[in-house]
């Protein structure tokens, strides 16, 4: 039966991981703009590549 205690511990740990991921996402501003990225991803890859090259 003590396996349940272990499992609960693991499940809580995983859940805490997701909680931290959520808090981190809020903090890094992912929820500030929920629309523009959906358009941005549709632009041609070529441009993105160039942009990356330019940035580095």
């Amino acid at each position: 039966m003590s396996v349940i205690a272990v499992l609960i511990g693991i499940s809580l740990l995983i859940a805490v991981g997701f909680l931290i991921a959520f808090l981190w996402a809020v903090k890094s501003g992912q929820y500030n703009d929920t629309y523009t990225p959906s358009i941005r991803m549709l632009f041609d890859d070529e441009n993105k590549k160039q942009k990356k090259d330019n940035n580095t």
Partner: protein, 806 residues
């Protein structure tokens, strides 16, 4: 040189998509409507940015509207310091508001700015907020050059005093943190409570205690962090001797927590942590839902956001740029074409042709002669003028309105009072029931009595009650938004439902800006005449010329020779060897043959533009105000239920016309100054008579702020509108009475959801009084009541909106 053979209707500018009158601006197979559009196209092609035109069709910003502006003031160190958000040795970060952003091409171009100018590092667009964040190397490009580069491709950022003084609006990240933590704890506590729900008998006390302690630990952050706002609010209310709705909520949460902790620590039960965390989670969700904000709209604008940041003054024969706030009486200022006059001043040099459309909504320019006083807020339309400042910016005729108390006092929302009133009675009744049932049980069993006391207080927690308001009104505000009626916050709906009096401004509010009823008086014009008149009118940017240009529905445009524009008088030029004059009677009469006398008998309420072809006066265009579509029906339905008034800053020209709409006994007031309007509202409003004001210009700002609900009517929501409670897109003007009606319905829906939540409370109380409130009953009853109230509120508002045609 005519290009009459081209079917210009099908010719669209490759840049902005406007119809091209001819093909004089052309690159390859692309045609442009003006030189500006062509220049941008060339620039973007040269910089390898032509994808701009492939993502969306004709995404460009029309250059017809772009005004020439000088950005010298952006070299001022203080201005730079204020505008820049962050700066290190190499990079500067700046945020601009950019209302022109409208499509994915805009995003693409603005995020590829680094190709346009190597001084720009990166740029990021926020489409919904219409903001752009630019990182640039300040060694390579100055702020002024950056703004000029943006302007050169048609994206002129909005830089105004307000944006300099603006406080950084922090996104309410804390609320999201709180929700995340509440959701996490709620979910896990539910999981750990399952053995209890399913009545699985856990013999091993080890597990029972483990689950209990885990629940307790998980409940701690919810109680101390996620729910903290409710405690603070309840405490603040108590301090102000008010029992608000947050008081019974805070009480319920506290008792839930204390009793559950007690049960777990004494091993006497499983506690109600699942109910408590669920309750906090639902309440926070409600909070997010009601905070529907239109972040790209600004409801708090004062005159400052409309005025320029800096102005050129003449000092010792030199022009220097000075921030508007430092302008003093006696300064000599220079205002160029299309610039705004920032302070009351006297015309000193040049021809004043002032457009007061932002002040009064009237788009017809006013002519001013030397020595005349010009009020702040007007826009100079013709050439350069020199003025002497009479009053400081903040003391000017228009701006001193903002020194009125109305603008400094923060009006308390009636709506809060209403909820709190319910909360107050609710609390008293609950406390009474708790006391009575405890007293009853005390006679039999003091242990059960304590149990009953806490159970009553737990179950009476007005969670569903507190949710019905944010969900009903939050949904309503979205429905309004879909219909182009943008409210500042949910309390505006409650105020709208109580309106008894409706006050309209005239020009720009009930009349359409830039549109008019045009009729040609005289012999009917043949198509050729119309074509040559249109060709001439095309050369002028004067509002009346543009009205005539738009009015004539012919497509052929010819070249105009010897075009001349005399400000305040008219325009003239030769089209296909026909000499045409358009303008005032005196202008057209000059050198013309005899005038038919009936042409003098004009309707003086309207403006006239006379026309002569080859020095023969043909007739005149009669230009009358045009009321917004649906105005008649709107007035009809409003006058049935509300008292209606018109407050106009104009003269009485339209009185007779308006009487036709409003009836003989209508109350129409003309020649109202901004402070007259404010005082009128002040006089008329009382707790029984809530006043709704519709306005559009700066001169209505006082009245809008003073009224119970002030609504700004605007043709383009991203343009300037004065501080108000709501912004109405002019296209939805005819729906006003439906909006008012729907606001009333929303409040009724709230009452209904109150009843539903009371019913749940009654059921819960009946369990509680009998001492039968087990954790499982609480865990079912509380979420169920919340969910049914939330779904009733959203479904009912959607249903009613559909029925009303919103």
């Amino acid at each position: 040189m005519s290009t009459s053979n081209l079917d210009i209707k099908n010719r669209k500018c490759s840049h902005c998509g406007e119809a091209c009158p001819d093909s004089s601006y052309k690159i390859g197979s692309s045609v442009f409507c003006c030189a500006g559009c062509k220049t941008v196209y060339e620039l973007l092609t040269e910089k390898n940015l032509s994808s701009y035109y492939t993502i969306m069709d004709t995404p460009g910003i029309s250059f017809k509207e772009v005004r020439s502006k000088r950005f010298d003031f952006l070299d001022d160190d203080e201005v730079i310091k204020n505008l820049i958000d962050f700066r290190n040795d190499e990079l500067s970060v700046v945020n601009f508001l950019m209302p022109q952003v409208h499509c994915s091409s805009c995003i693409w171009l603005l995020e590829n700015l680094y190709k346009l100018n190597p001084g720009i590092s990166t740029s990021k667009v926020n489409f919904l907020k219409k903001e752009i964040e630019i990182k640039f190397f300040h060694e390579k490009i100055t702020l002024r050059e950056l703004v000029e580069a943006l302007t050169s491709i048609g994206y002129e950022p909005v830089i105004q005093l307000d944006s300099v003084e603006k406080k950084k609006m922090q996104l309410n990240k804390k609320l999201y943190y709180k929700i995340g933590i509440a959701a996490f704890c709620f979910g896990n506590i539910m999981l750990l409570s399952f053995p209890e729900y399913l009545s699985i008998d856990i013999h091993e006390t080890f597990y029972r205690n483990l689950f209990g302690y885990l629940n307790l630990i998980l409940a701690l952050p919810v109680f101390f962090y996620s729910a903290s706002d409710y405690f603070i609010s309840a405490y603040k209310g108590l301090k102000g001797k008010i029992i608000n709705i947050d008081f019974p909520l805070a009480m319920g949460i506290t008792i839930l927590f204390v009793r559950s902790a007690f049960e777990i620590l004494t091993y006497s039960g499983a506690g109600y942590f699942d109910s408590m965390t669920g309750l906090v989670f639902f309440l926070l969700i409600g909070k997010v839902f009601q905070e529907k904000t239109y972040s790209y709209l600004n409801f708090e604008r004062s005159y400052k956001s409309y005025f320029p940041l800096a102005v050129h003054i003449k000092k010792d024969e030199q022009e220097i740029s000075v921030p508007v706030s430092r302008l003093k009486a006696g300064d000599r200022i220079i205002i160029r074409k299309n610039e705004i006059i920032p302070a009351d001043s006297i015309l000193f040099k040049g021809n004043g042709s002032i457009d007061y459309s932002f002040v009064t909504g009237e788009s017809k320019p006013v002519q001013k002669v030397l020595g005349e006083l010009i009020y702040a807020g007007g826009r100079q339309l013709d050439g350069v003028i020199e003025l002497e400042v009479v009053k400081e910016v903040s003391q000017s005729y228009l701006t001193q309105l903002w020194n009125n108390d109305t603008f400094t006092k923060k009006t308390e929302s009636n709506f809060e009072n209403f909820t709190n009133k319910v909360g107050k009675y609710f609390t008293f009744v609950v406390l009474l029931i708790a006391a009575l049932s405890t007293a009853y049980w005390m006679q039999y069993n003091s242990g059960i009595a304590l149990n009953v006391l806490t159970a009553v207080l737990i179950v009476a927690c007005p969670c569903a009650l507190a949710l019905s308001i944010p969900f009903t009104l939050g949904n309503s505000i979205r429905i309004f938004g879909r219909n182009r009626f943008y409210l500042k916050n949910i309390s505006v709906i409650e105020n709208l439902s109580k309106i008894k009096t409706v006050v309209f401004d005239k020009t720009g509010t009930i009349t359409e800006t830039g549109k008019a009823n045009i009729k040609f008086i005289g012999p009917e014009l043949n198509p050729f005449q119309q074509e040559i008149i249109k060709s001439l009118a095309r050369n002028s940017t004067h509002p009346l010329s543009r009205l005539i240009y738009d009015h004539l529905e012919v497509n052929k445009i010819y070249e105009t020779e010897n075009f001349e524009e005399l400000s305040g008088r008219g325009i003239s030029g030769s089209v296909l060897n026909n000499f045409i004059k358009l303008g005032s009677l005196y202008f057209v009469k000059e050198g013309a043959a005899e005038v038919e006398t009936n042409l003098y008998n004009v309707d003086e309420y309207n403006s006239q533009v006379y026309l002569s072809i080859n020095n023969k006066i043909i007739g005149y265009f009669n230009i009358a105000n045009s009321y917004r579509t649906g105005f008649d029906e709107l007035v009809k339905s409003l006058t049935e239920d509300y008292k209606t008034f018109i407050l106009s800053g104009d003269n009485e020209n339209e009185r007779e016309n308006l009487k036709k709409h409003f009836g003989e006994n209508s109350q129409l007031y003309f020649r109202q100054s901004p402070s007259d309007k404010l005082n009128f509202i002040k006089k008329n409003k009382s707790s029984y008579n809530k006043v709704l004001m519709f306005g559009d210009g700066l001169n209505d700002a006082g009245a809008l702020a003073q009224s119970d609900v002030g609504i700004a009517v605007t043709e383009n929501i991203s343009y300037f509108s004065p501080a108000c409670d709501a912004i109405l897109d002019a296209r939805s003007f005819e729906k006003i009475s439906i909006f008012l009606n729907f606001a009333k319905t929303s409040v009724k829906i709230i009452y209904l959801s109150f009843i539903i939540s009371f019913l749940y409370n009654l059921v819960g109380l009946s369990f509680a009084i009998e001492g039968m409130l087990s954790p499982i009953v609480a865990a079912i009853l509380m979420p169920l009541s919340s969910i049914s109230v939330v779904s009733f509120a959203t479904l009912a508002t959607n249903f009613m909106a559909k029925r009303k045609g919103l």
